[in-house]
Every structure is written in structure tokens, then in C-alpha cells.
């Protein structure tokens, strides 16, 4: 399913985003890589946020991305999710989908889910409704008017609820959840969209130790079924879950490998301790 086909769901064309009808998961991962970033550069009035960044994510892998402040981690996510357009370079989703051509909504539809640093959930809606709204289904107006949940869908919501440890709070307004719970709910909402790729921006920021613990578990369970990209400052957390770690610095990849590899990498030490 290519960008062109995604567009035809779009009743108005132009700037309007995808009409929101279901996409059969059609990402071509024949080369077992699901996300290609090549020579991406982005600069805001002079300041180079990304500098020739190149990065591949394998299908189903769990990748941690670390780096000092201003290394360009968030900007990278913005580029992948279409929030920021790269000045140069290419972003491909699978073999065929050029993300630079899609709008945010279209990208979300193509199967890339993103959790923001600051958790954004629908505060007025119950946890259940939050998940229901996020659930992968036909999302065009006329269907939303008559939409009813069938038992299968209810089961899926229940499933996710327990996965994110909110089964007990299903009917509470999301606004009343604790910070950590909101983070989870947001992850849960991403899962309801059955994304191929999950971008988690500082998932444990502001979580209690216990919540952090559980989040780590969650990330591990998600990997495999989805490709998970975690951007995090908390090194203990990263060390706990990381299989492959990428270190960004000044807008490009400084080192890549297992946790120990990067820990012993001279350049990384230089960046983190040196000067």
C-alpha cells in the first residue's frame, strides 16, 4: 500500500489529511528493515538540529537512542512523524513509503505511532474511551456516527487495559490519572492503532521507580510484535532494557552497538565526560 493509495482515502485532497479508512498493514519489510533515515539535515535559523543523520531500524527490534541535550533526538522523531520536514535527506517507511510525502495523520495511519514527551491524552474522556478512540478502525465521519463496539473490539480494549495496568481505572476520566498512568495510557492508545513502529519519547520521565520498572517490562514485551524506538535520559532504565543503543551527538550518530560497546566507546566517553 503506497503513499498514493493512502491519499485516496482523503475526501478533499490538498492539505487535508487522510480520510481515515483502515489500511491493510502493507509495509514492505522484505529487507527486514522498517525505517530508513538517510543523510537527514534539519536546521532552525542557523542552528543545525540534525546534521546528515543516517539510521536504520530493523523490523521488530527495540532500539534505545541516547545522547546529551540538544543532540537532536526529539527533532529526529519530529522528522519521522512528519511534524518537521527535513531540509535534505530521505525518510522511508519499509521499502516503498516515502514519509516526507505524507501528512502527520497519514503517517500515523501508515503505522507509525508516537508518544510525546509531555503525555497527551483526552482528559475529558474515560480511559476506556481514550483507547476506543485510538483503536484501529474506519475513522471517517460517517462511520463514526453509527460506530458500535463489537465484542472482539471490546476484548482488544480489555487486553490493552491489562497490558498497561489500567484495567481497574477503565471508567475514570483520563484527566484524573497520575502522570505515569497517563504515559501508559498514551502508550496503550498507540498500541490500539496496531502500529508497526512505536516512537517513545522519554517514556519514564516523571515516573516513580516502580512505574519505571513496569514500563521497562512493557517495552520488552512490545518489541518483536512492533519495532520500538525509545529516547530516554534515564541511563539505568536504558541499561535495563537496551539491546541495541544508538548515541546521537550534535545531530548525527556518534556510536551504535550494545550497551557495553557504547559505554566503552572512546568518543562517547569524550562526549559524556570529556572537554
Amino acid at each position: 500500500m503506497s503513499a498514493a493509495q493512502i491519499r485516496d482515502g482523503d475526501a478533499f485532497g490538498g492539505g487535508a489529511a487522510a480520510g481515515g479508512r483502515v489500511l491493510t498493514p502493507g509495509v514492505d519489510v522484505s529487507h527486514k528493515t522498517i525505517l530508513y533515515l538517510e543523510d537527514i539535515s534539519v536546521s532552525f535559523d542557523g542552528f543545525k538540529a540534525l546534521n546528515q543523520l543516517s539510521l536504520d531500524i530493523d523490523n521488530g527490534e527495540l532500539r534505545c537512542i541516547i545522547g546529551p541535550n540538544g543532540a537532536g533526538k526529539t527533532t529526529m522523531m519530529d522528522v519521522i512523524t512528519g511534524k518537521t520536514r527535513p531540509d535534505s535527506g530521505t525518510v522511508f517507511f519499509g521499502q516503498t513509503i516515502d514519509l516526507a510525502k505524507l501528512t502527520e495523520a497519514e503517517i500515523a495511519h501508515a503505522g507509525i505511532g508516537r508518544k510525546f514527551q509531555k503525555p497527551t491524552v483526552f482528559e475529558q474522556h474515560s480511559v476506556f474511551e481514550n483507547l476506543e478512540l485510538a483503536m484501529k478502525t474506519d475513522k471517517r465521519v460517517r462511520f463514526s456516527l453509527t460506530a458500535r463496539l463489537d465484542s472482539a473490539q471490546r476484548d482488544r480494549i480489555a487486553e490493552t487495559l491489562s497490558l498497561i495496568h489500567l484495567a481497574g481505572a477503565a471508567d475514570r476520566p483520563a484527566g484524573l490519572l497520575s502522570h505515569g498512568q497517563k504515559q501508559w495510557l498514551e502508550i496503550g492508545m498507540l498500541l490500539m492503532q496496531e502500529p508497526r513502529v512505536l516512537l517513545l519519547d522519554e517514556p519514564v520521565a516523571g515516573m516513580t521507580d516502580e512505574e519505571t520498572e513496569r514500563t521497562g517490562e512493557l517495552c520488552k514485551t512490545l518489541a518483536g510484535k512492533h519495532s520500538v524506538i525509545v529516547v530516554e535520559h534515564d541511563m539505568d532504565f536504558v541499561a535495563g532494557i537496551a539491546r541495541k543503543v544508538t548515541v546521537l551527538h550534535e545531530g548525527s550518530v556518534l556510536a551504535e552497538g550494545s550497551m557495553d560497546e557504547v559505554q566503552n566507546d572512546a568518543r562517547v566517553i569524550e562526549v559524556y565526560l570529556g572537554r
Partner: protein
């Protein structure tokens, strides 16, 4: 100069500052170290009053400033060089520096030693702050703070994303300021070498708590490095 007493702060569900206690003496450079996300910046924001402290007290020259607004604290002589510089992008360099005179009497002029410390600022007086390079912006931010002629200078990661040459200048400036002895300096860093070379005293934070502190010479012996490495 400033003493922090049992400071506590929460963000969301998490306890970002846990009973933080330490003093910042005059005429010395106190460096606060720790990895990203351990609460260093939150602590500084509490000191400036940008985020309210949940409990605990801040005593500045023996006076309780815990409930004062940021500009009242600035008036008492706290100057803040925030992470990411936060210079005023659409003001010229000169105007940015003049903002540092807000607490001083009318007609006060920009102290000339600022230009001696950062000559580049003199050449750029007319440029818009937003058009400066990262390094220049950092120097401007420090200059702005110095224009306030503060008693306590607070710097949050002044070396972040800056080319080494400028880092050397900044290091020199901070050292001279500390040695002049009129002001106390609180320097937040995550880069060991830089911190080590300036620290008269050091404080290490992890997960919102102070886990180590002492005179700068002891940093090796206490193996502070280990607390910062991955």
C-alpha cells in the same frame, strides 16, 4: 551565601527533588553534577522561583526567599543563566545586555568588563540575539547575567553543544569571577573534566537526591566520574 534546606519538589507522579540540602559559599564555585534527568535543572528552577518548592526553605544571606517571585529574587542578586541560553531572540545583543540592568537604577550602563571578558559581544552589539551562533548566545546569556552584578551566579550547563574554543573562554571567565570573590557561583554540569577544573566544592545528584558532596580536590578520590558515566 545561599543555603538549601530539605527542598522537595514533585512533577507528575515522581519525586523530582528529595530533601535536597547544601550550601553555596561566597567567593567559590560550587559545581552540581549528575546525569540528564536527575533533577538538576528542576533544582535551579526552584532556586529562581520558576517552579514553587513543595516543602523546605531557601535562605539567601540569612533571609528566607522561598516564597519570593523570580524578579524579587533577581532584585536580591540571584542571576540565572538557563539551559539553552534563553536569550531574547528578537532583541539586539545590546538590548539583551540592557535587560540585565533591569534591577539596577535607571541610567545604569553595561559594565565594561563584560566586553573585556567576551569581546565578540562588542562587535555584535547591533545584531539580533536570535541570529547569533550557539556559542555567542551562551556568552551573551552569561554577559546578561553579569550585567545584573549578582551576588549569586547560577549557570545551567553552559558548555552544552558549544565548540571547545568558546568553552575555554567560558571556563576562564568563571574562574576569574570565582577568584574575585565578590560572588558565589553555582555551576551545573554533566561533563566531568570541565566541572572538575572549576569546582571548589562539588555536589552530585541522582534521581533527585544528593548522593555525594565535598571539596573539589576530593572528586577523583570519591570517584565522581562513575556517577556520570553510562
Amino acid at each position: 551565601m545561599l543555603s538549601i534546606q530539605n527542598l522537595n519538589q514533585y512533577y507528575g507522579g515522581s519525586h523530582t527533588l528529595r530533601d535536597v540540602n547544601f550550601d553555596i559559599p561566597q567567593g567559590a564555585c560550587t559545581t552540581l553534577l549528575g546525569r540528564n534527568g536527575v533533577g538538576k535543572t528542576t533544582l535551579l528552577k526552584c532556586l529562581m522561583g520558576l517552579v514553587p518548592a513543595k516543602s523546605g526553605a531557601l535562605m539567601f544571606e540569612g533571609r528566607d526567599i522561598t516564597r519570593l517571585t523570580p524578579y524579587q529574587r533577581a532584585g536580591l542578586g540571584l542571576a540565572y543563566v538557563p539551559q539553552g541560553r534563553e536569550i531574547f531572540p528578537r532583541l539586539t545583543v545590546e538590548e539583551n545586555l540592557r535587560m540585565g540592568l533591569a534591577t539596577r537604577p535607571r541610567g545604569a550602563s553595561i559594565p565594561s568588563q563584560i566586553f573585556d571578558m567576551f569581546p565578540v559581544l562588542r562587535d555584535m552589539l547591533g545584531r539580533r540575539g536570535g541570529d547569533l551562533s550557539g556559542g555567542q548566545q551562551q556568552q551573551l546569556a552569561i554577559g546578561r547575567a553579569l550585567a545584573m552584578q549578582p551576588k549569586l551566579l547560577i549557570l545551567d550547563e553552559p558548555t552544552e553543544g558549544i565548540q571547545p574554543s568558546i568553552i575555554k573562554d567560558i571556563e576562564r571567565v568563571i574562574r576569574t569571577l570565582a577568584q574575585q570573590g565578590e560572588m558565589a557561583i553555582l555551576l551545573v554540569e554533566q561533563y566531568y573534566d570541565f566541572a572538575r577544573s572549576l569546582a571548589d566544592h562539588y555536589v552530585v545528584m541522582s534521581r533527585g537526591e544528593v548522593i555525594k558532596s565535598g571539596p573539589g580536590e576530593e572528586m577523583e578520590r570519591e570517584n565522581v566520574k562513575a556517577c556520570l558515566a553510562l
